[in-house]
């Protein structure tokens, strides 16, 4: 059994504008020690997905359906109290996007880590502090002993993210959820933090769910990738396979819109159009409004995730043999003519 099994997760937000189906039937699994990248454009529902796992969705949002099994426990059946005491921060910990604001400005970094340790383990105050210092040292903060006694504003952005990672490690979690942990950082610092995640995984064997819109980061950290589009996972595969052989038209377009060492900026093909509203998503396949290969049936059937290789599935009707179409070519030419590669990219990777 996998460490984390999520099936048919649905999280809706009840607004005056209508029901925002932010997460609408998401399934995925994470094996112990594995790292999964959850990739997609802003608004695809990545963050909401991971926050739903821990019940961190605020009013007017609500997890309306789905099963979440973690290490044999049914998280979706747990009370707020149980989640708080046994899961949040202890079994599963969270690293947030913005290290500048995720720490409390009026408490020292050491005391903030120690507080979590003290609350979730039976260590004494002094032991918890010791643990905090050790953790800070582990995540590469020099002079951890002194630094633990300093306030967040005395740390740089990268250092604060290290502090948050130390906090995430504090109770030996089985899973760390990192929600865009490098987005707010400078590029050079990003590389260091990514390296730190790799080290953590090697050293502690912790499973990681890494939420990002940056395929470059995914390559560094993740064993496997799940691509999200408008509240659904459209393709899931081991990183290398996804990179070599993307099946879903959306993934293919994503791949072509990103800068890699062997591709120049001028060759980039931004994804046309914008993601439709999650209040009123397109019928059938949600990507069809932007898909160059859309055909009649796309609007009629919601494509299931079809096995296309070992550990590789993709939710596109093109893979289904009953629609007698040729397998999508690896490098599409049809869409390329229409795209204007010199215009500003409006795709996912322009941040």
């Amino acid at each position: 059994m996998s460490l984390l099994e999520v099936s048919d997760l649905r999280t809706y937000f009840y607004t005056e504008a209508g029901i925002v189906r932010a997460v609408d039937g998401v399934d995925f699994e994470v094996e112990a020690g594995e790292s999964l990248g959850l990739v997609g454009e802003s608004g695809a529902g990545k963050s909401v997905t991971v926050k739903s796992l821990l019940g961190l969705i605020d009013v007017p949002g609500k997890v309306v359906d789905g099963e979440i099994y973690f290490d044999g426990q049914a998280l979706h059946e747990m009370s707020e109290q149980e989640l708080r005491q046994n899961v949040r921060g202890s079994d599963i910990s969270f690293v947030f996007q913005d290290p500048m604001s995720a720490l409390n400005p009026v408490h020292t970094v050491g005391s903030q880590i120690a507080e979590v340790v003290e609350y979730h383990t039976d260590r004494t105050e002094a032991e918890a502090w010791e643990r905090a210092v050790t953790l800070l040292d582990d995540v590469g903060i020099p002079d951890a002993e002194q630094r633990a006694d300093q306030y967040p504003h005395e740390f740089s952005g990268g250092m604060r993210q290290r502090v948050l990672i130390a906090m995430a490690l504090s109770c030996d979690p089985k899973l760390i959820i990192a929600d865009e942990p490098t987005t707010a950082l400078d590029v050079t610092i990003q590389a260091q933090i990514i390296e730190l995640f790799e080290e953590i995984q090697e050293k502690y064997g912790t499973a990681i769910v890494y939420v990002t819109h940056d395929l470059g980061v995914v390559r560094e950290v993740c064993d496997r990738v799940a691509v999200m589009y408008l509240g659904k996972i459209v393709e899931s595969a081991p990183y290398d396979e996804l990179y070599q052989d993307p099946h879903h038209p959306y993934t293919q377009m994503l791949m072509r819109s990103v800068v890699t060492p062997d591709r120049d900026v001028s060759e980039l093909e931004p994804i046309q159009g914008t993601m439709p509203s999650a209040v009123d998503p397109p019928s059938g396949c949600r990507f069809r409004t932007r898909c160059p290969r859309e055909f009649d049936e796309c609007g009629r059937y919601e494509p299931p995730r079809i096995q296309v290789g070992e550990n590789h599935d993709s939710a596109c009707l093109l893979h289904d043999e009953q629609f007698e179409r040729e397998e999508p070519a690896l490098h599409l030419d049809s869409g390329a003519a229409e795209t204007d590669s010199t215009s500003g990219s409006r795709g996912a990777y322009d941040e």
Binding site: S42, G43, S47, T183, T274
Partner: protein
């Protein structure tokens, strides 16, 4: 290049106007604000009608409805509430209800004129000070701090002792006292707006400094001061009533709620109605302005929405869903908002500060 920037500027101006309109529209969703607006409108009608009545019609309306608010009747001294005098009579036998209605003129006039003086004086001084910077800023701010450090009522009483008790001097005294608060709010607004990119754009487009100040900066900073003005309307009305209560404000025979309470104090035991009703009117009036101001502040604050709980987070989310080119909120803006002395906080502190004095 220059055409580009000027379009930017126009866009911004457009946004500002539609921003204020949108705010007013959003007010409809706030019960508090609408309640406040109702109270304030009723009072305004009352004040306007009684002004017309006294100036043009020689109290014809009020006489036909109730009684002459200035007419004394020695046979009716301290008459308790009755059909003839629904709120009783005072020490000269004058009808309390009629005097309360006429008192609305004084209360609203003081609120509006004194706040107006404070508003324009404060906005001019504060914006000038912030824009000049350097020692000019230092001198103006120290001078305003001086004005601010003598508690408002004490300063007002001293000024009234100098100028002599009259309603016009009351306008002036409370106007002067209000200046520092407005100046502080607009100053912090100007200082933060000055850093915005569209000001750089305006500079690049070659607009003169004063044009930038009056056409770009002040209009954008004004919303914060408007909230402050609405909220301080209440405290000015209370303050002016306190002065009249203490005998430094409106003089007889003009009907003013504060003054009525002054005479009511000595007769509290035998004629409580003379004290109850004028005070109740002050309360209702101030409550109206405070409700309106509170709603206005919520409506202007981009972080709160009046429509339904937690809508703000959601609208932002829905926005992002609808328009994925808007990136996840990242970086500097967020953590700046978290620091104690960022412009945003300074503005809130200042608006909050305006509720007192």
């Amino acid at each position: 290049m220059s055409t580009d920037t000027s379009t930017n500027i126009q866009n911004k101006e457009f946004e500002t106007e539609s921003g204020i309109l949108a705010t007013i529209k959003e007010l409809r969703h706030s019960g508090t604000a609408m309640g406040g607006l109702l109270i304030v409108s009723l009072l305004l009608v009352m004040a306007i009608v009684s002004t017309v009545d006294i100036v043009l019609l020689d109290k014809a309306i009020i006489k036909s409805l109730f009684a002459d608010p200035h007419e004394m009747n020695t046979l009716q001294i301290y008459a308790p509430p009755s059909m003839e005098h629904p709120m009783g009579t005072d020490q000269y036998g004058r009808d309390v209800l009629a005097r309360i209605i006429y008192g609305s003129r004084v209360a609203l006039a003081i609120g509006i004129i004194a706040v107006g003086i404070g508003f324009f004086g404060g906005v001019t001084l504060g914006a000038f000070s912030a824009y000049k910077g350097g020692y000019v800023d230092d001198i103006i701010m120290r001078a305003l701090e001086t004005l601010y450090s003598i508690p408002g009522l004490v300063l007002a009483m001293t000024m009234m002792a100098i100028l002599g008790p009259s309603i016009y001097n009351l306008f002036f005294a409370y106007g002067i006292i209000g200046i520092p608060a407005y100046a502080r709010v607009i100053r912090s607004e100007v200082l933060s707006i000055r850093e915005e990119e569209y000001i750089d754009a305006a500079k690049a487009a070659g607009l003169s400094n004063y044009k930038i100040l009056f056409r770009e900066i002040i209009p954008n900073g004004l919303s914060a001061v408007l909230v402050q003005a609405t909220l301080s309307m209440g405290s000015v009305i209370i303050g002016a009533a306190a002065l009249s209560f203490l005998g430094f404000g409106v003089q007889p025979p003009t009907a003013s709620w504060g003054r009525m309470l002054n005479t009511a104090q000595s007769a509290l035991l035998i004629a409580p109605w003379v004290a109850i009703f004028p005070g109740l009117m002050i309360f209702i009036t101030v409550m109206g302005f405070n409700m309106l101001g509170d709603g206005l502040r919520d409506a202007m604050d981009p972080r709160t929405s009046l429509r339904s709980p937690k809508m703000e987070a959601l609208e932002e989310y829905a926005d992002r869903v609808a328009d994925p080119t808007k990136a996840d909120p990242v970086g500097s803006d967020d953590w700046l908002a978290g620091t104690a002395l960022s412009g945003k906080d300074a503005r809130n502190d200042a608006t909050d500060g305006g509720e007192r004095q």
